[in-house]
Subunit: 333 residues, 2 copies
């Protein structure tokens, strides 16, 4: 059925090695045989079988892309950039959807069966142990959008969530708010913990500002909306730093239902800057994650790790910045 190396060799009148070598970068073939082989190959429509060659070279050029964020619109951009970035480097993404899975063992097995060259765990909610399971299995791995740790056991690329929390706090302080709040995602998510920490940390030097904290049950519209509706039964803070953009939009929806105005009655700052945050009817002030840089660095790092498996685990964090839109009042004066 499919045309193989042997067919090409026969047609070109050379050995199978010769054919293999013409398709192998830097192998020794004379111009003459290369020409013969290439002619035969195009005539037959041959293209080498990556699977078969991986068997001897030990390289499949497959990269496992593991994620559990299939409900955050930011991740559509993430998948877009990852798949394009990998393709551009001649790598192919093998997607693993972790939606309900929490045990890494299964994913590890699945990806080892396909001898992936490396794995990228793209998630801001998975614990570090998840990526570590791959490293323990001897698979080069990078945790994208992962959590910063001082002595990482595994490569991490992402943002400094603590610094982001601080940045959000400073944005609210600069606007002269007297009472502010953190409305996080699930308390167990590593990103929530760090963002809260940074937020509270920055506010600790401003005892005159009243601070409160609460958590939505998920990084989702509904959870954000539900939590804000609950908060609106009491006395809400003047401004909220929300766990992420989707949550923020749920919060905005609850506020608008309560006939309160943003930013006059309540200010909101999100985190991510997903594509729809800039849509005019959302117009969310938020902290932008440099997604493209994170993804570029993640791919670079996994490629480097494939080449040098024993490199020290490294953490690469990229700076975020506040994107001013319409859900936070302007800084006075």
């Amino acid at each position: 059925m499919a045309v193989t190396l042997r067919d090409v060799a026969d047609r070109a009148g050379v050995s199978r090695s010769a054919v293999s070598r013409t398709f192998t970068e830097g192998a020794s073939v004379s111009a003459k045989t290369r020409a013969k082989v290439e002619k035969a190959a195009t005539e037959l429509g041959y293209s080498p079988n990556a699977i078969a060659s991986s068997l001897t070279t030990g390289r499949t050029k497959l990269i496992g892309l593991v994620s559990n964020n299939f409900h955050n619109p930011l991740f559509l951009e993430v998948f877009d950039l990852f798949t394009r970035g990998l393709q551009d480097r001649g790598l192919r993404p093998l997607l693993v959807n972790l939606s309900h899975e929490t045990d890494p063992a299964n994913s590890v097995r699945m990806l080892r069966q396909y001898s992936v060259d490396g794995v990228i765990v793209a998630s801001s909610t998975l614990p570090p142990s998840f990526a570590e399971a791959f490293r323990d299995a001897g698979v080069p791995v990078v945790h994208s959008f992962g959590r910063y740790t001082t002595s990482p056991h595994v490569h991490v690329v992402g943002i400094d969530n603590i610094a982001c929390g601080r940045m959000a706090a400073e944005a609210l302080i600069a606007r002269g708010h007297r009472s502010v709040a953190f409305l996080g995602g699930p308390e167990t998510a590593t990103s929530t913990q760090d963002r809260e920490r940074g937020f509270l940390d920055a506010l600790s030097s401003h005892p005159e500002i009243q601070v409160s904290v609460s958590y939505a049950s998920a990084y989702s519209f509904d959870a954000g909306r539900a939590e804000m509706m609950r908060l609106l039964q009491g006395t809400p803070a003047e401004a909220y730093f929300c766990g992420d953009d989707v949550l923020s939009i749920g919060v905005l929806s609850a506020i608008s239902d309560a006939r309160l105005r943003v930013p006059d009655d309540i200010g909101i700052i999100g985190l991510n800057d997903m594509e729809m945050a800039r849509w005019e009817n959302i117009n969310l002030t938020t902290i932008r994650q440099p997604v493209a840089q994170i993804i570029g660095a993640s791919i670079d790092l996994v490629v480097e790790t494939i080449q040098h498996p024993d490199r020290h685990p490294e953490t690469r964090l990229f700076p975020c910045r506040v994107i001013e839109r319409g859900t936070l009042r302007p800084v006075p004066r």
Copy 2:
């Protein structure tokens, strides 16, 4: 490094065939040797190499998932369902991002190099010829969200876009609108053409209703917004059927900027029912595509095609229905 079949065989004191057979469904192994092998396998942490076995079986259990829709939030749901659905059947999705590519040859080559068992082309904008290129290369293929044709050359699963256009028209007629319009996506997209056709067809029996047609330059927020802003310079129709939900949201944004109210001044009906359409601050009346059914059927069909490669090309279309929310006034009486 990795533990192979041979290691297990040595440890269990049996032949390599015996090991292979214990891991092969329906092969002949006695309970005794199976036990020995399984013991050795778990002790060594062995799991069979799918890549290697594919070489002889001719089955990789890889499915190419080809798409160019990385900016439509609906497709995050689509990827979620596809990856989960494939995983549940023991198949692995190999993602190909077509963002700028228009020539199928490249994708075909990429996926043939990995000997994928089948391909799912998930796109409402790609022409039928794209999927056909895979069929011509002898790869089982299903075009998901593809266009209906009376004599398809390739399996198609999706919705009847013409019927949807008609359904939208009927929804507007039932509400007593005197002037209605179709605001499509790019004129070249197959889905746009069909939806327009159905829409105009249903209205042809209502000569008293004024009808107009225009196109946004893409299925995107910005394009929808821009086109509606243009339309608002003249006299807009009473109600619009928009190419899809993202477009609709752009349109809503333009309308709200013009200080017009929805649905009182202008009614909007979208198509897709993506997750955020139900968000309370969007609350879009739209036509729901049964995404889960389409995806389930697509996977079924590609699996069947792998088993029976010569099956006649088939078109499976699923019915849509109007989801009433807040952007279209209620049916009178």
